[in-house]
Amino acid sequence: MTSQEYKETKLELEGWPVNVTSYKLGDRFYCKVDNVSPGAWLARTTGATREEAEQAALERARQMLGRTRRQAV
């Protein structure tokens, strides 16, 4: 089995830059969302289509990023 239709996109989510990576494996699409800095993955999802997988991952990542508090420095 090999990954197909590999795609990376950079977006801004809740004010934070993220990388959205998706690809097809078998008959499923896999998606993960990483924060650009430091680069940790926030959400991993699967779906029957790329859109379904990405939508679920972005929603999960949005919830997590929305909890990030900024301090005054």
Binding site: M1, T2, S3, Q4, Y6, E8, W16, T21, Y23, L25, Y30, K32, D34, N35, S37, P38, G39, A40, W41, L42, R44, T46, A61, M64, L65, R67, T68, R69, R70, Q71, V73
Partner: protein
């Protein structure tokens, strides 16, 4: 990879693809947990989840010598096995495993340049099968703690400015604007950085495809912040995994002699009562409380 100080510790994805069936090589995917591995992994690769197999799950520590020997034996790894490690998050946890294997003296351990990201992006084979290796006998060396920095050493280094402290977290974590990477749980009481530490985020050491930058680029990156290897270096982050990545770069790609990973990192320092903390990008050095 020829310009690196120790090019033998890096292998490319092509090399791994050509050695999938080599009986003297054990390939291991190392991530924070098994989610990525379960989606499909390099054929024949085992999984070592960081949160259960590469740390003591009772007290905060790396594996004991005995625990490490058990992990190697149950993974079918002998003292003379070539171990190739790769992982998600640009090899953070792979570098953590590499660091721990060097602490316990494993001779031949290598990192797959570009990690899981590059393997998947290149459309290479992915397997859903989990290998069942035959158990081996494994004898680890006593821990080489010169590769590891403990709190007292870091306190001394900060107080006396006797080592280059390298903070590899994101700029916002360094300044204190955020207490943890965006989206992750806050695990410290105070934000900021250890006084005197230079901010050199780990991600500056890699290219977009996850591979390490060239020797010349790395030398310029750290040299521009005054980190040249002419004196001891201590790298730290939040929990020690990103800094093990930088430790690998400094020790094996640039060849610095005296580099330690402070795995207590900010989750230790940022929770200490009375520890000096600098905030902002260019704060003045904080006064350090001296023991009476």
């Amino acid at each position: 990879m020829a310009n690196y100080a120790h090019p033998e510790v890096l292998v490319g994805t092509d090399w791994v693809a050509e050695h999938l069936n080599d009986p003297n090589i054990r390939i291991v995917e190392v991530d924070v947990d098994n989610k990525a591995y379960d989606e499909g992994h390099v054929p024949g690769a085992l999984a070592w989840p960081w949160n259960t197999q590469l740390c003591d799950t009772v007290r905060r520590d790396i594996l004991s010598q005995k625990q490490f020997e058990e992990l190697m034996a149950s993974s079918g790894i002998s003292n003379d096995t070539t171990v190739v490690i790769y992982g998600d998050n640009n090899n953070w946890f792979a570098a953590w495993a590499f660091w721990q294997m060097k602490i316990y003296g494993h001779k031949d351990v290598r990192i797959m340049n570009g990690g899981r990201k590059k393997w998947v992006a290149e459309g290479r084979d992915l397997s859903m099968e989990t290998p069942k290796p035959s158990r081996t006998a494994y004898k680890a060396s006593a821990p080489d703690n010169s590769l590891r920095a403990f709190l007292p050493q870091v306190q001394t280094a900060a107080e006396r400015e006797s080592a280059d402290l390298v903070d590899v977290r994101s700029p916002q974590e360094y300044t204190g604007e955020i207490l943890a990477p965006p989206g992750l749980p806050e695990t410290c009481q105070r934000g900021g950085h250890i006084p005197g530490a230079r901010s050199i985020p780990w991600g500056k050491a890699v290219n977009d495809d996850g591979t390490f930058k060239s020797f010349e680029d790395l030398k310029n990156l750290y040299g521009s912040e005054g980190v040249t290897g002419s004196r001891p270096v201590i790298a730290y982050c939040r929990i020690g995994e990103r800094s093990s990545h930088t430790w690998f770069v400094l020790k094996y790609l640039l060849g610095f002699k005296d580099v330690a990973n402070y795995d207590g990192s900010w989750t230790e320092w940022g929770n200490l009562v009375g520890a000096p903390v600098e905030r902002g990008a260019a704060a003045a050095k904080a006064s350090y409380p001296r023991a009476s």
